[in-house]
């Protein structure tokens, strides 16, 4: 199997898993609790961004679509923060979250504007976004251990969202860190393998976790809080 075929399959699988998550989210939107509604919106946002990214070079004759990365990161981090605000139910998180997301958005937009005409991966922004997402997942894990409200983790949607985020972020972190180095020094085949085959595999895992979370019926929390 050639690299191009492999890249095509991985890309298609990732795109369809995003579309599936959005479809599941939309079909169950009315029955979803507030936190998962934001997750459904995130999946829809990602579908819209995916379509825009695909259309930007052929339709708008842009030099590259990489400048979209910061915009996508802002949307993803913002919607995930809103989803986790509902899941964490923490006043402190509610107070701090707008400032963190706001600061990240300002930084990402500034970087996007400055680097608009350069073709390169916005590594710093992507890594910051990854770390923020990892922070959200670990905050949720901490809440699970502190409050003991969830009896069966396998039936908790946000547990799966957090697992998906941990796997995606830790897989994505090194790829993003070396993405520009890879583009500058290595062959197109290796670039494709890492950026178009391996990375979509982590995306695939993340979106399957989103699908699972959006599909399952949230369990009632028990009263065993410490």
């Amino acid at each position: 199997m050639s690299m191009a075929t492999l890249a095509f399959i991985a890309g298609q699988l990732a795109v369809w898993s995003i579309a599936l998550a959005a479809a599941v989210g939309l079909s169950r939107f009315r029955r979803l609790p507030a936190g998962l509604r934001y997750l459904a919106l995130l999946a829809c946002f990602d579908v819209a961004m995916e379509l825009t990214v695909m259309a930007i070079v052929p339709v708008f004759h842009a030099k590259s679509n990489l400048f979209m990365f910061p915009l996508i990161s802002i949307g993803e981090v913002g919607l995930l923060a809103l989803a986790y605000r509902e899941a964490l139910q923490s006043a402190t998180f509610g107070r701090v979250m707008p400032w963190v997301v706001g600061a990240f958005s300002v930084y990402a937009l500034f970087d996007c504007w400055v680097e608009l005409h350069r073709v390169h991966y916005p590594t710093a922004i992507q890594i910051t976004a990854d770390l923020l997402q990892f922070g959200l997942a670990t905050l949720y894990f901490w809440k699970l251990l502190r409050e003991l409200r969830v009896e069966h983790l396998r039936q908790d949607p946000f547990f799966w969202v957090s697992v998906g985020l941990v796997v995606f972020v830790l897989g994505d972190l090194l790829i993003m860190l070396f993405s520009n180095y890879l583009l500058a020094h290595y062959s197109r085949g290796l670039q494709q393998l890492v950026l178009v085959v391996v990375r979509p595999c982590f995306l695939l895992i993340l979106y399957w976790c989103y699908c699972l979370a959006l599909w399952m019926r949230p369990q009632k929390t028990n009263s065993l809080s410490s």
Partner: protein, 272 residues
């Protein structure tokens, strides 16, 4: 510095990603196992707390019963005996006054004698209500029969008892069931407006013991019934029933429709 060879870079990248994923896996595994362990600890703590509460409840009820027994015996053997002796003496004085043909004095003695009789009866009744000696001597079936007979004497309701109770429970459990039945009959006599009939059923089928008290009165007011079918606000009597039901590890169910009476059912598993 030169970039490492492509193969070397791929190896480094794969090892790096693999290590990070291992860290992620370890984090998730830690959360799952530690959360499970904490949850089990919490459940054990709750169970111990519940056990302690149960023991405390049993101790409180036992102390209450001992106190009732003491007061009941004191009433029966002390004031009751004194009143009975006084009544005998008054009877003697009444006989003497009849002999001297003093009609006014004789009539007064007659009234005093009657009042003394009522007082003796009341003291006995209170003493029995405080501690049912029949229960200790003859068991729950006899005690319930006695309770029903005494309640029937009031003549307010026609009370019927049906007992099928081949394997008696321990005395503390029988006493708790007796108290529950006593309270339910008392409630029916007091609150079941328009009731003409009250059925009391004690039935044992294998390990399942059922006590049913059912009247044909006005039933519970629907505005005061909570979602679980029980009264939203409870008086001291109903709370004492709840406590005893809890002590017995039993289940209490109340069924009522306006105008169609109230059916109270208590089920418990008797020890083998």
């Amino acid at each position: 510095m030169d970039a490492p060879a492509e193969n070397e870079f791929v190896k480094l990248l794969i090892v790096g990603i693999g290590l990070l994923l291992l860290v992620g896996g370890a984090l998730v595994l830690f959360v799952v196992t530690y959360q499970k362990r904490l949850l089990q600890q919490q459940l054990r703590l709750r169970a111990a707390e519940a056990e302690y509460q149960q023991q405390l409840l049993a101790a409180v009820i036992e102390a209450q019963e001992h106190e009732r027994e003491r007061i009941g015996r004191d009433l029966h053997d002390g004031i009751g005996a004194t009143l009975a002796t006084t009544r005998l003496l008054v009877s003697r004085l009444e006989t003497n006054s009849q002999a001297t043909a003093d009609t006014e004095e004789s009539s007064l003695f007659g009234m005093v004698n009657e009042l003394m009789g009522t007082a003796v009866h009341d003291v006995r009744s209170i003493s029995h209500s405080l501690f049912p000696a029949v229960l200790a001597r003859f068991g729950l079936a006899e005690a319930l029969q006695h309770l029903v007979d005494v309640s029937n004497e009031a003549g307010v309701l026609d009370i019927e008892l049906e007992v099928d109770y081949p394997q008696p429970l321990a005395l503390p459990q029988e006493l708790a069931l007796y108290r529950i039945c006593q309270e339910l009959i008392h409630n029916a006599l007091k609150h079941a407006k328009g009731a003409t009939h009250l059925d009391v059923l004690l039935r044992q089928r294998g390990p399942l013991l059922t006590l049913v008290v059912e009247d044909d009165g006005c039933g519970l007011d629907p505005t005061q019934v909570a979602a679980n079918g029980q009264l939203a606000t409870k008086g001291a009597g109903l709370r004492s029933i709840d406590v005893r039901v809890q002590m017995l590890h039993a289940r209490l169910r109340q069924e009522s429709e306006p105008g169609q009476g109230l059916r109270t059912l208590i089920e418990l598993q008797s020890p083998a």
